[in-house]
C-alpha cells in the first residue's frame, strides 16, 4: 500500500529510518492516521529521538490492544502530538503473552505514568523502570486483567470483594 504522508510525517519517517534503520518494522496508514511499528527494545530511544529532535513534545495517550494471537499478543500504542508541526503519529510496539514487558517512557514524558498504569491494569503488560506501577482502576486485590479477550463480559463471580448490604455488625 502506498503511503500518502504529509511533509512533516515524511520528515519524521525519514529521520527515524535514518537513525534507527533496523528498529522500524513497518509504517502504514489507516483511515488517514499514520502508524509506525517499532521493535520493543528501542521504544525509549526512539521516543527520546522523537521528542528531542522531531518535536513530538506532547504525549496524548498510551493504550493497549489485545490482538489475541499466539505470537506477540499484546500491542502498546503511543499517541504522540507535535505542536509545532501540527502532526499526530502513533507508535506501536508488540510483546509476547508469556511475560509482556515494555520499557517505561516516564523518563521521556512524565505523563506516561498514569497511562502505563492503565495499560498494566487492563492488560497486565508491565513496564520496566516505571516509578509507581500499581493498578489504577481496579483494586490491587483483583487478580485478573479485564480488557484481555478471555475475561468474560459479566466478570468473574467472587473475584472482587463487595461491601455488605447490611450495616456492620461489629
Amino acid at each position: 500500500m502506498s503511503l500518502e504522508l504529509s511533509e512533516t510525517l515524511q520528515t519524521t519517517v525519514n529521520s527515524l529510518t535514518e537513525h534507527f534503520p533496523d528498529k522500524i518494522i513497518e509504517v502504514y496508514q489507516s483511515s488517514g492516521d499514520t502508524f509506525i511499528r517499532i521493535e520493543t527494545d528501542a521504544v525509549v530511544s526512539i521516543c527520546t529521538h522523537l521528542k528531542n529532535e522531531l518535536h513530538y513534545i506532547y504525549l496524548s495517550d498510551i493504550f493497549g490492544i489485545d490482538r489475541y494471537t499466539s505470537g506477540e499478543r499484546f500491542e502498546v500504542v503511543y499517541n504522540l502530538l507535535s505542536l509545532r508541526d501540527v502532526a499526530r503519529v502513533f507508535l506501536k510496539v508488540r510483546c509476547e503473552e508469556a511475560a509482556p514487558e515494555v520499557d517505561s517512557v516516564t523518563s521521556v514524558w512524565s505523563c506516561a505514568n498514569w497511562f502505563e498504569r492503565e495499560v498494566y491494569d487492563m492488560f497486565g503488560v508491565t513496564f520496566r523502570n516505571h516509578p509507581d506501577l500499581r493498578r489504577i482502576f481496579m483494586p490491587e486485590d483483583f487478580q485478573y486483567f479485564p480488557l484481555r479477550k478471555e475475561f468474560p463480559l459479566l466478570g468473574i463471580p467472587g473475584s472482587i470483594e463487595l461491601p455488605g448490604t447490611t450495616p456492620d455488625k461489629d
Binding site: I57, F63, W114
Partner: protein, 430 residues
C-alpha cells in the same frame, strides 16, 4: 510524630492489598523529602483521606494527602470508584448501541461525547455527513460546552465560599436543558447524534429557544464578571493557587482549559478542525499564569466564544437532509421505516448488525470536549462490533496533573484546585 510507618496506624478492613499499596506508594513519593524534628508541635504530620464520598471532590475522587501542618507535603490520587468498564462493554456492542454509554461518561456534556464517538466511527467507516447535521452538531456541542462550564463555574465558586452563585449558574443550565429537550427530546443524556448525521431535525421551536438564550445569556455572563472579576475573596482564593507552570504543562500532559491556562493554545477545533469548525470564526483564549484564576478567565472567555460560534452556526445553517441517505451506513428516517418494507428491513439490520467498518482498519479521532481532547481510537475486525475501542478521556489526563500540582499547596485550597481542574469522574474512571 514521625510518619515513617503509616500502615501500622491504619487498619484497613476493605481491599486490604489495595490500601496497603496506596499508602506504600504515598510513603515512597519524593523519598528525598527531609524528616522534620519531632518536638515542634507546628510540624505535626498527618495523613488525611479525602473522599471518595466528599461533596467537594466532584464525584468519587479519593485523595490521600500527607499534611505537614496545613501544607500538603505529598499526595496520591486513588481513582476507579466509578469504573464500569465501558471499553469492555463497547467491544460487545454495535457502534450505535454503545452511544448511550458515552452520554454517561462525561455526564455534564453528553452531546460532545456522542459527537466524538460518531465522528470516529464515520472516519473509520467513511460515512459522509450532511452539512446541516454538522451544523446542528456544532450547536449541540457548544451548548454542551456552555452547560459544562456553567457547572464548573457554579461549583468552583461554591468551593471558594459563595453558595448562592451556584443557584444562578444552574438557572442558566436549566435553560440549556430545556433547549436540549427541544432539540433531542431528552434533557440530560441526549444521545442525539447518530452515525451519519443526527436523530432528528432541529425545529423552529428549538431554534427560537436557542436564539432567545443567545440574547439573554451574554447579559448573565456580564453579571458573573461583575460579581467575580473585582471580588477580593475570589481573587485571594484563586490567584497563585494550584499553579501549573508553562514548562510543566506539556510534561504532565495537561489538556483543555487547564493547558490553555498555562499558555499553550492547543485546541483540537483549531489544530485538527472537524465538523465545520474551520468555517466559523472564534478565538482560542489562553493565559500565561497557569493558576486557578487563569483557568477561570480561559473558561469564561470560552463561553463567549461558544456564543459566537452558535450565532454563526444559526446564521449559516443550510437546508437539506440531516442524515446520510444510505441505508447501509445510517438509520433510515422514521417515515421510511413506518411506510416501506425496505425501510423496516434496513432499520432492523442497522439495529442488529449496525455499520461494519473494513477489517483491520484503525482510526483515531479527537474532538475538543469542554474538558479537553476527547479522542476515540477504534480498531475494527470487520464485524459490527469494535475489536478495540479506546477512549482518551480528558478528565483522566487532567487528574494526573492534579496529582502533580497539589504538592506544596494548602489543604484548604485542595477543593478549589480540584474545582479549577474540573474533572468528571464518570469519564476519568471509564
Amino acid at each position: 510524630m514521625k510518619l515513617t510507618d503509616i500502615q501500622s496506624r491504619v487498619h484497613s478492613t476493605f481491599f486490604t492489598e489495595h490500601q496497603k499499596q496506596l499508602y506504600q506508594s504515598l510513603e515512597d513519593k519524593h523519598t528525598t523529602i527531609e524528616e522534620y524534628d519531632d518536638g515542634d508541635p507546628l510540624t505535626t504530620k498527618m495523613v488525611l483521606n479525602m473522599g471518595p464520598q466528599h461533596p467537594a471532590t466532584h464525584g468519587v475522587l479519593r485523595l490521600v494527602l500527607q499534611l505537614d501542618g496545613e501544607t500538603i507535603e505529598k499526595n496520591k490520587l486513588d481513582i476507579g470508584y466509578l469504573h464500569r468498564g465501558v471499553e469492555k462493554i463497547a467491544e460487545n456492542k454495535t457502534y450505535q448501541e454503545f452511544m448511550p454509554y458515552t452520554d454517561r461518561m462525561d455526564y455534564l456534556s453528553p452531546y460532545s461525547n456522542n459527537v466524538a464517538l460518531c465522528t470516529a466511527v464515520e472516519k473509520i467507516a467513511g460515512v459522509p455527513v450532511p452539512e446541516r447535521a454538522q451544523y446542528i452538531r456544532m450547536i449541540g456541542c457548544e451548548l454542551a460546552r456552555i452547560s459544562s462550564h456553567l457547572l464548573w463555574l457554579g461549583t468552583m465558586v461554591m468551593d471558594a465560599g459563595a453558595i448562592s452563585f451556584f443557584i444562578w449558574t444552574f438557572k442558566e443550565r436549566e435553560k440549556i436543558y430545556d433547549i436540549m429537550d427541544r432539540i433531542a427530546g431528552h434533557r440530560f443524556t441526549v444521545s442525539h447524534a447518530r452515525i451519519g448525521g443526527v436523530a432528528n431535525d432541529i425545529t423552529d421551536e428549538a431554534t427560537g429557544a436557542i436564539k432567545e438564550f443567545m440574547e439573554s445569556f451574554p447579559g448573565e455572563l456580564k453579571d458573573y464578571h461583575k460579581l467575580l472579576d473585582r471580588n477580593r475573596i475570589f481573587f485571594d482564593r484563586n490567584e497563585g493557587v494550584g499553579v501549573l507552570k508553562t514548562e510543566d504543562a506539556l510534561q504532565f500532559g495537561a489538556t483543555g482549559p487547564t493547558l490553555r491556562g498555562s499558555g499553550f493554545a492547543l485546541d483540537i477545533r483549531k489544530v485538527f478542525p472537524y465538523l465545520k469548525y474551520d468555517d466559523v470564526e472564534f478565538k482560542v483564549p489562553t493565559r500565561l499564569e497557569g493558576d486557578n484564576l487563569a483557568r477561570y478567565y480561559v473558561r469564561m472567555e470560552e463561553m463567549h466564544e461558544s456564543i459566537r460560534i452558535i450565532k454563526q452556526c444559526l446564521a449559516k445553517l443550510p437546508r437539506g437532509p440531516i442524515r446520510t441517505d444510505n441505508a447501509k451506513q445510517a438509520y433510515p428516517s422514521k417515515d421510511e421505516v413506518y411506510y416501506s418494507m425496505e425501510g423496516m428491513i434496513h432499520d432492523f439490520m442497522m439495529t442488529d448488525t449496525g455499520i461494519c467498518p473494513p477489517e483491520g482498519a484503525e482510526c483515531y479521532h479527537a474532538v475538543e470536549s469542554p474538558k479537553g481532547e476527547l479522542g476515540y481510537y477504534i480498531q475494527s475486525d470487520g464485524t459490527g462490533h469494535p475489536w478495540r475501542l479506546k477512549i482518551n478521556a480528558p478528565s483522566f489526563t487532567n487528574l494526573q496533573v492534579l496529582e502533580n500540582i497539589l504538592d506544596g499547596e494548602m489543604v484548604a485550597d485542595t477543593v478549589v484546585i480540584i474545582g479549577g481542574v474540573d474533572p468528571v469522574l464518570g469519564e476519568a474512571d471509564k
